[in-house]
């Protein structure tokens, strides 16, 4: 008994449907006699018998779908059963000894497989066999430093020299679209976060809850709605992650006793000046570290990157030339910064190239902190809320105004001793009356 499995009908299709059997179980067939009509994607194909013998058993009826390679029909090919030796012709037709004027049915005949007659599905090629599948793929979004984007859009950004991190995403679920990229490209190549000039809040309107569908199957629905993080908040997420990944942050904390200050002293100016004092004692904290090239640049001057909290989000804006500015100049710089922040117009050049950082959260709450160093800087100082501290002095107690300070430094390149000496020099300067 021989089993004939459904062959690949030349299109790489996974299966075919039986249209009709051209023989009956029990019939005797010769090799290449057509035995069944099978339907593939578009048309009907006649399958010839691979064996001579008796058709023993069908493995399906009209309408059944047979997988390629699965059994189609069984043959009983016992010895001498209707085989080639007989006077049966293999693929020819009866002819009389008289000449015939019509073309003989050598072909086309019923058993002329594949030449004419039955329909064949379009193989879509002229040689070989091109595998066909109906599997559908979708381009997946990848996450590039927090930015969701398809490969095509990412390539476009590369082509147009657009930093994806600076692009406002308008696609669903926070995806950056190609038009987002093109729009950003019109504003020129970008490297750092660019603030928006339009008046729009950094928080978006709640979007239709796409994620709600996910929660349908969960036992409790969350009480809020998912919304994408965009703009400066997204940039912050990225920058903080990167800092965390690279910087080895260590923090020293201390207080400066500022009871000797004059009334109305400009605290920001004093902080700035004390930073320079610290750098003069320990220049290593006023430096840039390139961890890829393993090089360090100690700055001769100082530009302080000051953390500014605006309605649009967190920026670090540069106060220039702190090392060479006098009090008045520093105050002017600070005011300029404040105005720009209020107008939401901090120019791009003021968002980079600072040599050390300062964060003054003293207007809010909090004493000490572990602020984040933004590479390539190696140090940041945070000043907390002023408080009155009871201090023992000769003969009694006094309440002194105290300024809490936290110095976080990158321990890959600065030592604890350097940091401590820097802080000491800072405090010494701060504690002067003016």
């Amino acid at each position: 008994m021989k089993t004939f499995n459904l062959p690949d009908l030349g299109e790489g299709l996974p299966d075919a449907e039986i249209v009709e059997w051209l023989v009956a179980e029990g019939d005797t067939v010769k090799v290449d006699d057509p035995i069944v009509s099978m339907e593939t994607a578009k048309a009907v194909v006649e399958v010839p018998s691979p064996y001579a013998g008796k058709v023993a058993k069908f493995h399906g009826q009209a309408g059944d779908v047979i997988k390629t390679g699965a059994p189609l029909v069984e043959f009983d090919t016992g010895e001498g059963a209707g085989d080639e030796k007989a006077a049966d012709k293999d693929g020819a037709e009866p002819e009389s000894s008289e000449r015939k004027l019509e073309p003989q049915a050598v072909e086309p005949a019923d058993d002329d497989v594949g030449q004419t007659g039955e329909e064949r599905a379009d193989t879509g090629t002229v040689v070989g066999n091109v595998t066909t599948s109906d599997e559908v793929v979708r381009q997946s979004h990848s996450s590039v430093g927090g930015v969701k984007v398809t490969p095509a859009v990412r390539a476009l950004a590369r082509k147009l020299k657009v930093d994806l991190g600076s692009v406002e995403a308008t696609g669903p679920e926070g995806v950056v679209t190609s038009s987002d990229v093109r729009k950003a490209a019109e504003q020129g190549p970008t490297r750092k976060p660019a603030q928006t000039r339009e008046a729009q809040p950094s928080r978006e309107e709640p979007r239709p809850a796409r994620r709600q569908a996910d929660t349908d199957s969960k036992p409790e629905a969350p009480s809020g709605e998912w919304e994408p993080i965009r703009g400066t908040r997204r940039t912050m997420a990225r920058a903080m992650s990167e800092s965390h990944a690279r910087v080895v942050a260590t923090t020293i904390m201390d207080d400066a006793d500022i009871h000797a200050w004059q009334h109305g002293e400009d605290i920001t100016v004093r902080l700035l000046r004390s930073l320079w004092a610290g750098a003069q004692a320990e220049p290593g904290l006023n430096a840039w570290y390139d961890d890829e090239q393993n090089m360090r640049m100690i700055h001769k001057g100082m530009h302080v990157g000051m953390a500014v909290d605006t309605a649009d989000g967190l920026f670090v804006a540069r106060l220039k030339d702190v090392h060479s500015s006098d009090r008045r100049q520093m105050r002017e710089e600070i005011n300029r910064l404040r105005d720009n922040a209020k107008n939401r117009s901090i120019p791009p050049e003021d968002l980079k190239d600072y040599t050390i950082m300062l964060s003054n959260f003293g207007v809010f709450a909090g004493r000490y902190a572990t602020p984040i160093v933004n590479p390539p800087c190696v140090a940041i100082v945070a000043a907390g809320v002023l408080r009155h501290e009871v201090v023992p002095v000769l003969g009694g107690m006094e309440a002194h105004r105290t300024l809490p300070l936290s110095l976080t430094f990158d321990h890959r390149v600065c030592t604890g001793g350097e940091a401590a000496r820097f802080l000491k020099a800072m405090i010494q300067d701060l504690q002067k009356s003016q």
Binding site: G128, S143, A152
Partner: protein
């Protein structure tokens, strides 16, 4: 939006551009009535007429030469070579003329022609029908070599190639002509030439490839994932000129690189990429660069074809080899 195969995306792009740009013509053997032997131009002659889609006599030199002629006179011919293996007579006109026209006339003339051909092996075809010799074209200055690997990229890159004012050899991986469907919007949006497409983000090893090998490479990435290895997959797409920036950026992140191509190893495009990496990213490399390629033999007849083509196993093995370096 239709879900279409890669070869259908080729048809879609051609139809789109022929509609909006009357200077685009399709020129080749069996492209009109028959719609091309792979049906890449199916329906186009019926829609646009036989003065836009021309069935040519059987003569590749004629096809290439006449396309140079047409292109220099304000037309945008899209030539079809029936198989990459039959493109070789065209080298004379592509290299000596199409690639040189702008340069030697100092910009007075240019040659906006696309030479399309089904490319690569794996369809059990008779001999000469399975070549992948993109390195040959890539080596010639003045002509771009572009290879799509998905329906959407075929659509977008072919539009870009047709619109580009300079010659492009556009090689279509026939093994994946109908392998998958993808939603492709017929919006006329081209994709950028000269840039890589990062198909999968990863951190441990960069897998660089193009064409049908994207299939095996993505499979390898999934296989590596099972062992906790995160592989980044880059589809180079334009193999000349190559966007090395994207590849270097990736290798800076991962430190390891495997380049996969079906074409023979010697002087393959993989060598170009490896040399550039060695030149520009050596300090980021943690391990040698590996190439998984076809062998430097003639492409065997189909019974041995799959022994020749780089397999998922070979890619995984190469990646694992260099992951051992630290």
């Amino acid at each position: 939006m239709a879900e279409i195969t890669l070869v259908e995306a080729v048809t879609l792009a051609l139809a789109h551009e022929m509609e909006v740009d009357p200077t685009v013509v399709v020129f080749g053997e069996d492209v009109g009535v028959n719609g091309g032997v792979f049906r890449a131009t199916a329906g186009l002659q019926q829609k646009f007429g036989d003065d836009r889609v021309l069935d040519t006599p059987l003569a590749e030199v004629m096809i290439a030469g006449m396309c140079v002629g047409m292109a220099s006179q304000g037309m945008k011919p899209v030539a079809e070579a029936q198989f990459e293996g039959f493109m070789y007579p065209m080298v004379d006109h592509i290299v000596n003329h199409a690639a040189r026209l702008r340069h030697r006339t100092r910009g007075r003339m240019n040659c906006p022609v696309v030479f399309r051909a089904p490319w690569g092996g794996g369809i059990h075809a008779p001999e000469h029908h399975s070549d992948s010799n993109e390195a040959t074209w890539a080596h010639f200055p003045g002509v771009r070599t572009v290879i799509p690997s998905s329906p959407s990229r075929a659509y977008g890159l072919l539009l870009a190639a047709i619109r580009d004012p300079d010659p492009v050899v556009f090689l279509e991986p026939k093994r994946i002509y109908r392998w998958q469907r993808e939603e492709v919007e017929d919006n006329g949006e081209e994709l950028p030439l000269d840039v890589c497409f990062v198909l999968r983000d990863g951190t441990d090893v960069t897998l660089v490839t193009w064409g049908a090998m994207v299939k095996e490479t993505m499979e390898a990435a999934l296989e590596l994932e099972k062992n906790g290895v995160s592989a980044e997959v880059i589809d180079v797409a334009t193999v000349a000129p190559i966007d090395m920036e994207t590849i270097i950026e990736s290798v800076e992140k991962t430190g390891r690189c495997v380049i996969v191509h079906e074409a023979p190893k010697h002087c393959g495009v993989g060598g170009e990429i490896a040399a550039s990496l060695a030149e520009k990213a050596i300090w980021h490399l943690k391990a040698p660069i590996k190439r998984v390629t076809g062998y430097d033999t003639i492409m065997p007849l189909y019974r041995s074809e799959m022994n020749y083509m780089p397999s998922m196993e070979r890619i995984v093995s190469a990646a694992n080899e260099i992951l051992e370096f630290e």
